[in-house]
């Protein structure tokens, strides 16, 4: 059996293991049914729930559209975490960077009147720049003072979300006629076209061309890593900072540049949400995406393809979780559990091997984060 097939089998087994453990949780928390001794009922809830999970993620064009819609920001924010990992930095700050990108993209989106062919790219660039600028801060702090990015990015998330809340109530951003902390709409010319525009009036197909932007960004990340001197420097620094310094690389500037690149991906995640999905910004526009993105990156082992695949998987879980909720009374919080379990099992091939009594050598998952450094 070749390597790809083997790792695919492990991934599948890991997902099966996660579904199994979640199933256990669904059943044992069905207190009422268990109290009545109605075990069959608890089990059938389970069947409906998992069928909904599948149906809602891949069962129809709309399901696929929803999966893509969910995967778009996860992929971009996931790239923000992955690219930082590649440079040896742990970026917990994708949330803040997304908010920064959402705000700058939003501003360009409503403050200018331009033809769409100009407006959309300009707003996208603005959100990338906004995210990059915000992302560079922890890079600068680390390069200049040694402050660990895990601390600074967590703190900057809090700072970003309250700054945005404050900004949304200023005259510049506030939607006319409303007191709520909700922004103006971006101009139509700055809106990202729908992905399934050719389907005409299907307004239920929410997927937008932000997904194309995300795919392009994935390609850019791949290209950066594989083809450029900068990507080479980032990886060398990430793997062995001292050797990179000995090789004449400016590792401190690289920290800043790497964080800025990471921030620009996250900024695009914020920008595409505003320009593609909502048309406006609120203080919750980033949601938990920046956090889920860490799981995406960990799962994808920080590679471009891995990040893409795990973002799609998480997008599918999100869309499927919604359908599961429609079909049963299993709360959508289960999806968070399921994700945690999938991450855990995929990262633990040895455990999966022991659970399913698989024979043969297992390739370890490898290490993403090399201690606290310092």
């Amino acid at each position: 059996m070749n390597d790809t097939l083997k790792s695919l089998r492990f991934t599948l087994l890991a997902v099966v293991a996660a579904l199994f453990v979640s199933a256990f949780i669904i059943v044992i928390t069905d207190i009422e049914a268990l109290g009545n001794g109605d075990f069959g009922k608890a089990l059938s809830t389970l069947g409906t729930a998992y069928w909904g999970l599948f149906k809602g993620s891949f069962g129809s064009l709309r399901a696929i559209s929803n999966t893509i819609t969910g995967a778009t920001p996860l992929l971009l924010a996931g790239l923000a975490v992955s690219s930082a990992f590649k440079a040896g930095l742990f970026n917990i700050g994708a949330t803040g960077q997304m908010l920064a990108g959402a705000i700058t993209g939003l501003w360009v989106g409503f403050a200018f009147q331009l033809p769409p062919l100009l407006h959309v790219p300009l707003a996208l660039v603005a959100s990338a720049v906004g995210g990059a600028a915000f992302g560079a801060i922890p890079g600068i702090l680390k390069a200049r003072t040694g402050a660990h990015e895990v601390i600074t990015t967590i703190m900057l998330n809090g700072i970003a979300s309250f700054t945005v809340l404050w900004l949304l109530k200023t005259e510049l951003f506030k939607r006319e006629g409303r007191d709520d902390a909700i922004s103006k709409f971006v101009e139509d010319s700055a809106k990202l076209p729908k992905l399934f525009w050719f389907m005409g009036k299907r307004i239920d197909l929410l997927a937008h061309t932000g997904f194309v932007v995300a795919l392009l960004a994935t390609f850019v990340f791949w290209w950066l890593l594989r083809k450029t001197t900068l990507g080479f420097e980032m990886q060398a620094t990430g793997l062995n900072q001292e050797a990179a310094r000995y090789a004449g690389m400016r590792t401190k500037s690289l920290m800043v540049v790497s964080m800025a690149i990471a921030g620009s991906f996250a900024g695009l995640a914020g920008g595409t949400e505003v320009m593609g999905l909502y048309g406006y910004a609120s203080a919750t526009v980033a949601g938990d995406i920046g956090f889920d993105a860490i799981a995406v990156a960990l799962l994808g082992r920080s590679t471009p393809i891995g990040t893409l695949v795990s973002a799609l998987l998480f997008g599918a879980l999100q869309a499927g979780g919604r359908q599961m909720q429609v079909d049963t009374d299993v709360p959508i919080d289960l999806i968070i559990v399921l994700r945690a379990l999938i991450v855990m099992f995929i990262a633990a091939p040895l455990l999966v091997k022991a659970m399913f009594r698989v024979k043969g050598e297992v390739k370890s998952f490898g290490q993403t984060f090399r201690g606290w450094g310092g």
């Binding site: 809830t45 069947g47 809340l165 006629g177 909700i182 239920d204 203080a283 526009v285 909720q325 919080d333």
Partner: protein, 377 residues
């Protein structure tokens, strides 16, 4: 997780645990479950198969109840990210739904949103299901609800804490003049404070929260003007003040209450959902030194363990407004106009718990004055 610090920007809320809620859902799932195997058996059917089965079973559930005017009407609700158990406006709205189920015989259904990205798909799910009325909760759903209403002109919508201007033909905004009862509460607090200092604080600095705080402030000022007193208000100065920064950390509520009590406040008005429960806990431990004004519903009823700490509650009758909207759909009169809950129409009010009778009369008179316009806010 810290990423969530400000995730749940939601609304002032309260505490009411409906035991019936779970039961209803339980019944529904029981019926669902029976159908589930059949469903799996016919799994290769179309998308809609599941929904048809669901509807059938729900119809079956209803047959056990007596025929009511709302039979056959499907009323649905989409929460914001706070979820239906938020002890806040989602939960109160759902109480209105349950009331409609019990009294009108409508069938109800619910979808929670885990993030802003869920709003549109959830509304779409309900449109597919043919919900005669879909209630959404919170200003963040404003644009998504409008879009759904415009796409599904045959269906009705109502949204809590949002008003459409210009109005949308088949979507009713449900908003509440919460500053009016808060004004009464402010007056009441100023009158009852022994220390001459009262406090308020909010969850997050957004208008649905600060409307309460501003009304409260004006009520205190009104008392000072009327009585020549100088009761001082902590936590809100008309433009800004003290906020927990979230609607989740009960420990913040306890600490803020303590912090304000340290400055001498003996009556506190928390406008912060579950965070306010932490303040009630502090009041409980203060052995009568500190009292709390409840928010949204009569907290002495919904938080019975701490009933003694509440002197009154500012009511925002979301459940009644939701019920009324469903009722209008059942009766066929539609949901064209926005609804503004005021003291005059009973959409907002004050519940008195431990207020001397004469003061209560005085405050009720002020309420009447606001209602008839003789007292301007």
């Amino acid at each position: 997780m810290l990423a969530r610090i400000n995730k749940r920007v939601r609304h002032p809320s309260y505490e009411r645990e409906k035991h019936t809620m779970r039961k209803q859902r339980g019944l529904k799932s029981a019926a669902l479950a029976i159908a589930a195997f059949a469903l799996i058996a016919s799994a290769c059917g179309s998308d809609d198969a599941a929904e048809e089965v669901t509807e059938d079973t729900e119809a079956a559930t209803e047959e056990t109840t007596a025929p009511l005017p709302g039979a056959g009407v499907l009323a649905c609700m989409v929460t914001d990210t706070g979820g239906v158990d938020d002890k806040g406006f989602n939960q109160i709205s759902y109480a209105g739904m349950q009331k409609a189920e019990a009294e009108l015989g409508v069938t109800i259904d619910l979808l929670e949103s885990a993030s802003d990205a869920d709003y549109a798909p959830n509304l779409q799910s309900f449109a597919d299901k043919g919900c005669n009325i879909t209630v959404t909760v919170g200003f963040l759903l404003g644009d998504a609800t409008k879009a759904a209403a415009e796409a599904n002109t045959g269906l009705n919508y109502a949204i809590v804490d949002y008003a459409y201007d210009p109005p949308v033909a088949n979507a009713r905004g449900l908003v509440f003049a919460t500053d009016q009862p808060s004004f009464m509460a402010g007056y009441l607090s100023a009158a009852m404070s022994k220390s001459g200092i009262v406090g308020t604080y909010g969850g997050v600095n957004i208008p649905p929260v600060t409307a309460f705080m501003e009304g409260f402030r004006k009520g205190v000022e009104y008392y000072n003007a009327q009585k020549g007193a100088s009761v001082k208000l902590l936590g809100w100065d008309g433009t800004d003040g003290t906020f927990a920064g979230n609607f989740e950390s009960l420990d913040d509520g306890k600490n803020i209450a303590k912090s304000q009590a340290d400055e001498g406040a003996d009556i506190i008005f928390p406008v912060a959902g579950p965070v306010g429960l932490g303040s009630a806990q502090f009041a409980l431990e203060s052995a009568g030194k500190v009292k709390i004004i409840g928010v949204d519903v009569d907290m002495s009823v919904s938080n019975p363990d701490a009933a003694e700490v509440y002197i009154a509650s500012v009511l925002k009758n979301i459940d009644a407004a939701v019920f009324a909207a469903i009722s209008d759909v059942v009766s066929g009169s539609g949901v064209t106009d926005n609804y503004v809950g005021t003291l005059a129409n009973g959409g907002v009010g004050v519940a008195f718990t431990a207020v001397p009778a004469d003061l209560q009369a005085e405050v009720e008179a002020i309420g009447a004055g606001i209602a008839d316009g003789s007292i301007k806010l």
